[in-house]
């Protein structure tokens, strides 16, 4: 998780024809540790106008929601050890997909409360933007995933992977849903080119302007955990998750996730930030109708073919 930062900085460095962090440890591998230590020792400023309870709580909510969402991603098939069924992940819920969407949407509380409780205008605007953006793209995410659930006929992530292991990966059956998911996922995690809530050129740092030290680190980690979760979910929902030839399940999932993580970093290095009205128009006037049409088309096709 922490190595995500190292990965990102190295890859971006390479993409921008520089080296990236390479001094601490071999190839900069100890850089994240050094960063974490630095943040540990930083003074934790709580502004005079900040809300006493919500201000420290917000980053914790963010991180907690990000971590809890990850719980339902299956790493491998369900196995039987000594007669007990052991799920191939932390948990295999019947409603895994719903759980994931639900829990990850709790994360927006962290952003908006953090923005509001700071008592700073930049933070407030950042928080509002974050809320509006996350909320708008959550619809797209939800609708894209419903189309997949319609094809799979289950909300259990195990079941979704199982359905793909015996047939085609859903990226082929649901290409539009995949693209929608990809765009929505980038927006959901507030990553470039949709990083308006923390747009540093206009909002200083958005909702975490007033945060420092470990509290800032919480927001930071939460963002990366979210990126990892949506990558894992993309791999699971559209690329058959852990299933694949030769290698054991977790390896496959890791490889597929890594491809998505690279994509996230690549996007950040390549694309300029959208304007806010473009962002909202893309979601409400383009992606939402597209997602609905895709869903209805899927429903009709499923009805005809089954």
């Amino acid at each position: 998780m922490a190595y995500m930062t190292w990965f990102e900085r190295r890859v971006i460095g390479r993409l921008q024809v520089r080296l990236g962090p390479n001094r601490v440890g071999i190839g900069g591998l100890l850089q994240p540790l050094a960063d974490a230590l630095k943040l540990f020792f930083k003074e934790d400023v709580r502004p005079a106008r900040a809300d006493r309870i919500l201000f420290p709580l917000a980053p914790a909510i963010s991180l907690f929601a990000a971590l809890a969402a990850f719980a339902v991603i299956p790493f491998g098939p369900t196995t039987r050890i000594a007669g007990v069924e052991v799920p191939g992940g932390i948990a295999n819920l019947q409603v895994g997909l719903l759980y994931l969407v639900g829990i990850s949407s709790l994360g927006v509380y962290g952003l908006v409360l953090g923005g509001w409780s700071s008592g700073s205008k930049y933070s407030l605007i950042g928080g509002l933007r974050a809320a509006a953006q996350v909320v708008s793209y959550e619809l797209i995410l939800g609708l894209a995933l419903v189309s997949v659930a319609l094809v799979a006929g289950t909300l259990s992530l195990e079941g979704v992977v199982g359905g793909q292991a015996n047939g085609l990966p859903y990226v082929i059956l649901q290409p539009v849903a995949f693209l929608l998911y990809l765009v929505a996922a980038v927006a959901e995690t507030n990553r470039a080119p949709f990083d308006l809530p923390e747009a540093d050129t206009e909002l200083v740092a958005g909702y975490h302007t007033e945060y420092g030290g470990m509290r800032f680190a919480m927001f930071f980690i939460a963002e990366y955990v979210n990126v990892i979760t949506v990558s894992a979910l993309a791999a699971t929902m559209f690329f058959a998750g852990w299933s694949g030839p030769f290698l054991p399940g977790p390896h496959w999932l890791f490889i597929k996730m890594l491809a998505f993580l690279f994509l996230f970093v690549w996007l950040r290095a390549t694309l300029p930030r959208l304007r806010y009205d473009q962002l909202m128009r893309l979601s409400w006037s383009v992606l939402l109708p597209l997602a609905l049409i895709n869903l209805l088309a899927t429903a009709v096709v499923v009805a005809v073919t089954r």
Partner: protein, 118 residues
């Protein structure tokens, strides 16, 4: 399978524990010497003006309402999608009516400019 929720519960506890422990550890070792200037809200070098908890634009509220409508729709769609095979043609028709009603509202909101962000 309620046993699966034990795993989730444990994971959530670990998540909370990690968050709490990090905060606690940081609180023990970090310095703390606040002064009034440092505790001012951030502003690029000039004194800040006014309170941040001011009124903000109504379009955020409009957006929140639209979101609520459509998010509920999505939540209704999940069980429908899972049971789709059993519902058959009836399920398709009912959902078409449901989505059509929502689309009328969406179209109205669009035409009335609720989706314009400038």
């Amino acid at each position: 399978m309620p046993t699966n929720y034990i795993g989730i519960g444990l994971f959530i506890l670990v998540g909370m524990g990690f968050t709490g422990a990090t905060f606690a550890a940081a609180a023990l070792i970090r310095p703390s010497n606040p002064n009034p200037i440092k505790l001012e809200p951030y502003e690029c070098g000039v004194p800040g003006v006014g309170d941040a908890r001011d009124r903000f634009h109504i379009r955020y509220y409009v957006l929140a309402m639209l979101y609520l409508v459509f998010d509920l729709e999505v939540v209704f769609l999940y069980p429908w999608a899972v049971q789709y095979d059993k519902l058959g043609l009836f399920g398709l028709m009912e959902m078409l009516v449901f989505v059509a009603i929502l689309l009328i509202g969406y179209f109205y909101a669009w035409k009335k400019g609720a989706l314009d962000w400038v």
